[in-house]
Amino acid sequence: MALSRAASSTPHANLLKPLAAAISSSSSFFRRSISTDTTPITVETSVPFTAHRCEAPSRTVETTGQELVGFFRLMALMRRAEIAADSLYKAKLIRGFCHLYDGQEAVAIGMEAAITKKDCIITAYRDHCTFLGRGGTLLEVFSELMGRQAGCSKGKGGSMHFYRKEAGFYGGHGIVGAQIPLGVGLAFAQKYNKDESVSFALYGDGAANQGQLFEALNMAALWDLPAILVCENNHYGMGTAEWRAAKSPSYYKRGDYVPGLKVDGMDALAVKQACKFAKEHALKNGPIILEMDTYRYHGHSMSDPGSTYRTRDEISGVRQERDPIERIRKLLLSLDLATEKELKDIEKEVRKEVDEAIAQAKESPMPDPSELFTNVYVKGYGVESFGPDRKEVRAVLP
């Protein structure tokens, strides 16, 4: 619905240029191949932003054909990877707990489009796609999921503990809410270093009820830290609907004195716009909350079928009307930046990439058993284990 508006009613002239170009060459035979076009185009977000204690940014988002194709590709890759993880889990190749992100891809994608790798991201356990967004590879993802050496945490973390230091990805945290104050600490360091970067601390609607959030908000506001608290509101914390757990499910307002913005988290461009706005805001004025209205298709974790506390109609309704990948697909088609076939080809490619990564990950060895004892303390500065069964522990000095 919003798409037609996006394609037709945007007032900016630069939208017309590529459209006109596309239209003029739209005879299907001579049509240029999938867009690598970097001419700016503008698109309107699906719904307006709702602001709390700040002026909402414009709904008109600047993008390019190249960016949109990139969004499509990466989101399709994320979706495919999560579905593959589902199968690997059912085949018992992934152990531990595993939480999938399909449905929420636009949040990871849109956020990355607005920031750089100098900005930090920290999240909870639903971390596979955030990691991919930060430039992590499929091989690292599947190796980590299966507990192999080639994993991003050397196979020692598993699904909930992905990290990518070189890209400012601080992971991957299992305790609900615990990562939020950590994110504020990251932001303090950034401010102190004056490096004009910000930290995004992601948490769920369930986590929003933890006291730690409010402690973190106060510190961030008190010290004007460049912290952006991103509530990924997928409307359920495990089996609990948001309204059952929160007196006010307007998570963007729950910072009270901290400004907030409610964003359609299924619209990658809206997310991008909001994150760009939030970064500028945070660097100038301190913290802000972004509530991303999103949805998880899978159950909470692999032991949750995801259908006991919500209706199948609700899930299929979101899939049909708000799916983040379909939104971009429609946009690409309506702007004539790609053909159905080209997009199908992309999906085929990513499927192959995923399959290849899984095959490769299976080849990666399990960590050496001695790894059980490493990284508990800094090597040489802590205790080490000796003896049969390694049960004897001695403090060692370098």
């Binding site: 299992g174 809410g177 609990t240 059980l372 508990v376 049960k391 522990v393």
Partner: protein, 359 residues
């Protein structure tokens, strides 16, 4: 492998428990063995909660998702039967859950709080240690939260990883003012949980989640309580005393059976209550056998095994014929991929039994 052993243990326990009842227990459990249904540990907990809510109108059950039955289904049916004002979901906020429970209990109610996994009890640690445990003492007995019982599933499940496997009992054993109780089997779980709920002290009750479905035995249907701070000799022997609690007992039992094949007679004790613990039963056993082995899943250093070891050495120094052995989790975080290396497995225990006996 673990599956069959724990199942065997659940069944074995059924017989050893009732054997003991027949021979020694003074009538608290009137058992007609053959008529009792077989229940798993999860259903036994569920029964205990039904009884607790039924017998005391001032009792409440709350926690994350409990009115839907909870992630392990231990609270199934409670909300339907007792209503939403006595069985309710809380938001995701452990510190709040326990603090709320303390207040509820301070008004003379029985507050039965569920923490979804023992790994998530730490946000509530302050409330337990500083508020619950000291309320009575620092108010000169004007106030207390004795009606508070915190239930939390603990321990390994085979592939739980860092945050679904921990055994945090020792942290709480360092806190005078609370009790820590861990059952080993369905019938024990039911009787002990009812006792905990009715005990006038705040209690942390850790449930061995590995056994929720695996341990099955006959559980008396009626309302019964098992005594707290009373250990139980669940297997008699003469050469060495083994002390444990919860799910670890099934592993220790297997080691005892293997040791028996090698001609070593092991006495196995279920401590059940970790604080205040039953030193006398353990002491009497060690005086008889002259040797002690303690086993738990939590890391060895600072684990509750250390306390048992120190106390028994103080009491039985001259009677001991070998150093006390502790076969426990390693001093590492609970690992994802190395769980079998980390855990105090049967073979580790068996080796330690042999080396202690041959010391």
């Amino acid at each position: 492998m673990a599956t069959t052993s724990t199942q065997r243990f659940g069944r074995r326990l059924a017989s050893s428990v009732s054997r003991r009842r027949l021979s020694s227990s003074a009538g608290e459990i009137a058992v007609q063995r053959s008529q009792n249904p077989s229940l798993n540990l999860c259903s036994a907990i569920n029964q205990a909660l039904h009884i607790a809510l039924d017998t005391d109108p001032r009792s409440y059950v709350f926690g994350e998702d409990v009115s839907f039955g909870g992630v392990f289904r231990c609270t199934v049916g409670l909300a339907d039967r007792f209503g939403k004002s006595r069985v309710f979901n809380t938001p995701l906020c452990e510190q709040g859950i326990v603090g709320f429970g303390i207040g509820l209990a301070a008004m003379g109610n029985r507050a039965i709080a569920e923490i979804q996994f023992a790994d998530y009890i730490y946000p509530a640690f302050d409330q337990i240690v500083n508020e619950a445990a000291k309320f009575r003492y620092r108010s000169g007995n004007q106030f207390n939260c004795g009606g508070l019982t915190i239930r939390a599933p603990y321990g390994a499940v085979g592939h739980g990883g860092h945050y679904h496997s921990q055994s945090p009992e020792a942290f709480f054993c360092h806190v005078p003012g609370i009790k820590v109780v861990i059952p080993r089997s369905p019938s024990q779980a039911k009787g002990l949980l009812i006792s905990c709920i009715r005990d006038p002290n705040p209690i942390v009750f850790f449930e061995p989640k590995w056994l929720y479905r695996l341990a099955v035995e006959e559980v008396p249907e009626h309302d019964y309580m098992l005594p707290l701070s009373e250990a139980e000799v669940i297997r008699e022997g003469t050469d060495i005393t083994l002390v444990g609690w919860g799910a670890q007992l099934s592993i220790m039992e297997e080691a005892c059976l293997d040791a028996e094949n090698d001609g070593i007679s092991c006495e196995l004790i279920d401590l059940k209550t970790l604080i205040p613990w039953d030193k006398e039963t353990v002491e009497a056993s060690v005086r008889k056998t002259g040797r002690l082995l303690i086993s738990h899943e939590a890391p060895v250093t600072g684990g509750f095994g250390a306390e048992i070891s120190a106390s028994i050495v103080e009491r039985c120094f001259l009677r001991l014929e070998a150093p006390v052995a502790r076969i426990c989790g390693l001093d590492t975080p609970f690992p994802l991929v190395f769980e079998p290396f980390y855990l105090p497995t049967k073979n580790k225990i068996l080796d330690a039994i042999k080396s202690t006996v041959n010391y």
